[in-house]
Amino acid sequence: MYYIDLAVTGLSFGCMYAVMAVGLTLVYGLLRILHIAHAAVFALGAYVTVIVANATGSVGLGFLAAIAVTPLFGMAVYRLLYEPLLRYRPDVPMIASVGLLVLMQDAFRIAFGEQGITFRHNIYAFTIFDISGVRFNAVQIAIVVCAIVVFVGLHIFTTRTRIGIGWRATVSQPKIAASFGIDAIRVRYLSFAVGSALAAVAGGLVGLLNNLVDPVIGSVVSYKALAIIVLGGLGSVRGTLMASLVLGMVEAYGTIFVGSWLNRDAIAFIALIALLMIRPQGFTGARAA
């Protein structure tokens, strides 16, 4: 049963990484920026969720508020920070992004305290299900369901709707898409809005899972999310999902087998480096870097 428990942990973490990373993938696919401040969006989503949930007593309202607020923030970051820097080497917007993350993390600390905030009514993390010895809680189920909804939804959106097809066209052939009348700037705003909302949901779910939202909630996840989008084949949504699940599983089993000489982050990154050396273009590898 122990190994199945690990699979449950790996699956739920993998799904959480996937929901978090998909926003980064969308941004990267369009602009080729490593959007490290995505971690700040993730943290902002978690804070809005916990504050509204504690104020109103409804976790659902908390998530709705987070989904309403974070896209505005994401779009503002694009407009005010990235757009003027797109002409420069990719390290330039990336360092600006790091600066924003440092600033936001400290702003959260000053505004809401070092210790972080806990949910006042968090029945979800403590509702434990037990199916013939395999134990998991309601938040883990929510994370997995959320990932399924997000990825099925994105798939339908990008293959069946006009806006979605225009989006894909802009990612693969920006100039030709523009000549067919697709507004590339609106596609960028859409990517930041959708990506930020998804990061917010992931942030809220992680807050629920740990029953804690603190200033550094986003940082470690964000570096791993960078690794995930690279491994997935930059800009590929399907690759991101695959890479997230692989990383979740490697971490869960890795901590058991090699945990005595490497920590969790190191295990994730050694797997990443090994896989990158085997497949330098990532899992899907459609576009060479």
């Binding site: 990267y28 990719p90 790091v98 600066g99 000053i110 480096i273 330098p280």
Partner: protein
Amino acid sequence: MSAYEISLLSVIGINVILAVSLNMISGFCGQISLGHGAFYGAGAYAAALTMIASGSVVFALLSAIAVGALFGILVGFTSLRVHSDFLAVTTIGANFLFTGFVRKQGWLGGEMGISGIPESGFGAAGNMIMILLFACTTIALSVYISHSWMGFAFRAVGQDEDTAATVGINAGAYKLAAFGIGTALAGLAGGLYTFFTQFITADAFDFILSVMLMAMVVIGGIGSTPGVVVAAVVLTLLPEVIRFVNNYRLLVFGGLLVLFIRLAPGGLAGLTRKLATIAAKS
């Protein structure tokens, strides 16, 4: 000189070595590395263990340089296989791998680090002079390389590998050379740091440090040695200067970083160039 000034100058010297050496890899040769802290750390641990075993400063620094370069060339090999952002993430990985590995190793002190490293015997002021001498040597080396054939080859590889290949430049060899030289200097900085603090933990060499070093390179102006030196000095002093904001230090620091890059994306070097053209016109 007060003890505070001595330690501040020592840290500045170490950061100048680190930023200038990273600039050789990322600025001259165009290979983005966000794991420079790992090579610095490898050098520091090598120096600490050698110093404890042998008691010789020269041996300790030599082993720091050797271990830094060895680790750097190993990571450099990945640059032959992956490029640009893929390389950036691989080097982030190398940094997390280094700190994650060190934290779990009993013989490296684990989470507690290594303490009680023997003194260099030069005293605090002597250490500072040694650090500053090495910093000046590093700057001179960087300027020399920049003007040499090797610097030309580095820039050619950094701008366009395929074009570099058509004029007979072996891109792979030069990338490895850039990694080798840059990380050897990072290892040296680690060795100097070991004598400066006599106490090292994995936390001192984490990813945040690597990002800060990259920030020095970007703010200085990618590829410009004088710009990077100034940026290294300024970014090291900045947290001290803005001490009056005390509780808001990181907030102000992050804000200034964003603001500077937003207003002067070419860094200090780009800014000076722009001012020079304006002055020439008027």
